[in-house]
């Protein structure tokens, strides 16, 4: 697949369809891959990489890149959902992006590999359903399923809701049951237990803003938390209340627009399961307003910003909120 992608990228650069290509660049230890913009065939030949560690969602970069001119982006299915949502919100210039959908078998999480006590990594190879991790302390073999990112273990879809062309075979939506198991566990808790759970998690926050800055749904030009005139601008939480509010406000702001790409949890240096907040909203929206999937297309209105006579009564929402 990597070679097919490189070939297509070079062709589209050569025939002038695009002037730049957004993809992933290899790093120092085979897992530390950075999103990157490539401008010529030589750069692509040398640095372009597509493997199990290309987890970063590149769709948000297209806001900036599409403003500069024609750009090619390779999208995994979950990136394509983010992309479509950005198109629906008119954040990306559609005429300036050429989108190639690529299949994804799930991305590995280096922290899960390291959690197994593996360190001193010098290289990682894929070997069927396993990874062979070369380290200075010897080689280790780990099962693929054991080190996939959480979001990939509960993947929502192998299908690309938007693309100009596809490489490889198009996949299908996957059953959603496992995806909400974590939310159901939280719903089953008492309010006190749930509060204790979230306090435990959110008190780890160092307010690095990585979750916000990486989030394809967080595209405000001036975030309320950075705007001194908003009344809630903060650099660090002055107390636990503010600590909670940052994440809760963020979850509210992206509700109905979050495609559950999982980038927030991927980038959190403290491993706070932020996706659970977003998934709670997705689950509630599905239950209250009927199944809705942000990023499915660029026309359907977000149920939270459109009113219909059949909408759930606020009282019902309140009652469920208390449960």
């Amino acid at each position: 697949m990597q070679e097919m992608m490189k070939k297509r990228a070079m062709e589209l650069l050569a025939d002038g369809t695009v002037t730049r290509v957004i993809g992933w660049r290899r790093g120092e230890f085979s897992y530390d891959i950075s999103p990157a913009v490539f401008e010529d065939a030589a750069q692509i030949e040398r640095d372009f990489v597509w493997d199990a560690f290309c987890g970063a969602n590149v769709s948000k970069y297209l806001i900036r890149e599409s403003a500069k001119g024609r750009v090619l982006a390779f999208l995994k299915p979950c990136d394509a959902f983010s992309m479509n949502q950005l198109l629906a919100e008119h954040r990306v210039k559609r005429e300036n992006v050429y989108l190639i959908g690529i299949p994804c078998a799930g991305k590995a999480d280096i922290d899960r590999i390291k959690a197994r006590g593996i360190d001193g990594v010098t290289g990682i190879e894929e070997d069927g359903e396993a990874f062979v991790v070369h380290t200075i302390y010897g080689d280790e073999r780990v099962g693929r399923a054991d080190v996939l990112a959480e979001r990939c273990l509960v993947c929502k879809s192998k299908r690309h809701p938007v693309y100009d062309e596809l490489l490889g075979e198009e996949g299908e939506d996957l059953p959603d049951d496992a995806r909400f198991a974590g939310v159901e566990k939280l719903e089953a808790m008492t309010a006190e237990e749930r509060f204790a759970f979230w306090r435990g998690e959110l008190s780890k926050c160092i307010r690095c803003n990585a979750c916000r800055n990486v989030c394809p749904a967080c595209t405000c030009e001036n975030c309320v938390f950075d705007n001194p005139d908003s009344g809630i601008s903060q650099k660090a939480a002055a107390d636990p209340f503010e600590e909670n509010m940052y994440h809760i406000i963020r979850a509210f702001h992206v509700a109905g627009r979050c495609t559950d790409c999982g980038e927030c949890s991927r980038v959190c240096p403290e491993h706070i399961p932020l996706h659970l907040l977003n998934r709670k909203f997705i689950k509630d929206i599905d239950e209250l307003y009927g199944t809705y999937r942000a990023g499915e297309d660029d026309e359907t209105k977000n149920p939270l910003t459109s009113f219909t006579e059949g909408d759930a009564e606020p009282a019902v929402v309140r009652k469920r909120g208390r449960a």
């Binding site: 530390d32 990157a36 001193g120 200075i136 160092i206 690095c208 800055n213 990486v214 950075d226 660090a236």
Partner: protein, 343 residues
């Protein structure tokens, strides 16, 4: 030489806790550790390093500086600080131990930052050698020896326990009353363990990282390098690298209305943030490229220029592990020194 058997660690920590609060690295997830207050039964992490650095003990993420109460238009100034208690930090690696010296150069230079000074004066540093360094480690590039970690008391780890040496007078005073916890062993085991650590460092992927290209007086040489554009293009402008960094010390000062007064606190800030240099009249660093450049120029050129050639990095590798897009000082150093011959 003093030797503490693995089985006696609990006894040692209990004894140390009698005179001060002792913080130890604890696994909060498999292989992910954080410093926690030691209480009987607390299991000390065997991991290499904590996700957050040990700077938090001296330069916490938020800290009250001053309180104000306003009555009848008169401003009353309140110093929020109480008596600082003695504490010890156990298991500090060589990289973090060196970082304190770097922070000292900032906070203990005139005018002295008394908030930091108080904590330093009350904090005892118990360091530990690294037995299993990670691929992200590159402390040796900055002249740090992970087998001689410094601090007040240094622990050299072996299979069955630790050789324990006082490094400072304060360390000697701390160890003096704890004599019966230790065995007396000859030091050859310690030397062997140290050599083992040094040998591993030479086999790490970043063992050859060079710092020669950088240093004070090189602003003109590096500031306008074209590589900054591609190095910074994927940067999402978060503060992860800054906040996990043991030497980053920029801070913001903010006021907070508590409802019955105003507290002025300082909190970590990041030069990577878009509003770091924003003024009423504009912003001299308009894009992420300038902000990104500032962080690395500061560590590799500006800081050494002001501090006798010492770099503002200790090679702990936390930013390598935590950056959401895996851009880091190693990639910056390699890219800028590679391109040097061409320019």
């Amino acid at each position: 030489m003093l030797f503490l058997k693995s089985a006696d660690l609990e006894r040692f920590l209990a004894a140390a806790s009698e005179t001060r609060t002792v913080y130890v690295p604890v696994d909060v997830e498999p292989k992910k550790s954080a410093y926690r207050k030691w209480t009987p039964g607390t299991a000390v992490s065997k991991g290499l390093k904590t996700t957050r650095s040990a700077k938090d003990f001296f330069f916490p993420q938020t800290e009250d500086l001053v309180g104000f109460r306003i009555e009848n238009k008169k401003i009353q100034i309140l110093d929020p600080r109480g008596e600082e208690e003695d504490f010890a930090v156990f298991g500090v690696r060589a990289c973090d131990a060196r970082s304190f010296g770097i922070l000292d150069k900032v906070f203990l230079s005139e005018p002295v930052d008394t908030y930091y000074e108080n904590r330093r004066a009350h904090g005892l540093i118990l360091t530990m050698t690294c037995r299993r360094p990670a691929e992200t480690c590159f402390c040796t590039a900055f002249g740090i020896d992970p087998a001689s970690p410094g601090g007040d008391v240094a622990f050299t780890e072996t299979a069955d326990g630790w050789y324990v040496e006082a490094v400072t007078e304060r360390g000697r005073d701390f160890l003096a009353p704890l004599g019966d916890l230790f065995e007396d062993r000859d030091g050859s085991g310690a030397e062997a363990a140290k050599e083992e650590t040094r040998a591993i460092m030479k086999r790490l992927p970043l063992a050859d990282l060079q710092t020669d290209a950088f240093g004070g007086g090189k602003t003109k040489e590096f500031f306008d390098r074209p590589e900054w554009a591609s190095l910074s293009e994927a940067c999402i402008g978060c503060g992860t690298c800054t906040f996990v960094c043991p030497t980053c010390q920029c801070y913001d000062i903010r006021d907070y209305d508590t409802g019955h007064g105003v507290k002025r606190f300082r909190c970590w800030d990041s030069c990577m943030y878009s509003d770091f240099t924003k003024m009423a009249g504009g912003n001299p660093r308009l894009t992420q490229k300038e902000r990104f450049r500032q962080r690395f120029m500061h560590k590799l050129v500006y800081f050494p220029e002001n501090n006798g050639g010492e770099f503002g990095c200790v090679g702990c590798g936390r930013c390598l592990a935590s950056c959401p897009i895996h851009m880091n000082i190693v990639k910056v150093m390699k890219t800028l020194s590679e391109g040097q011959d061409e320019s």
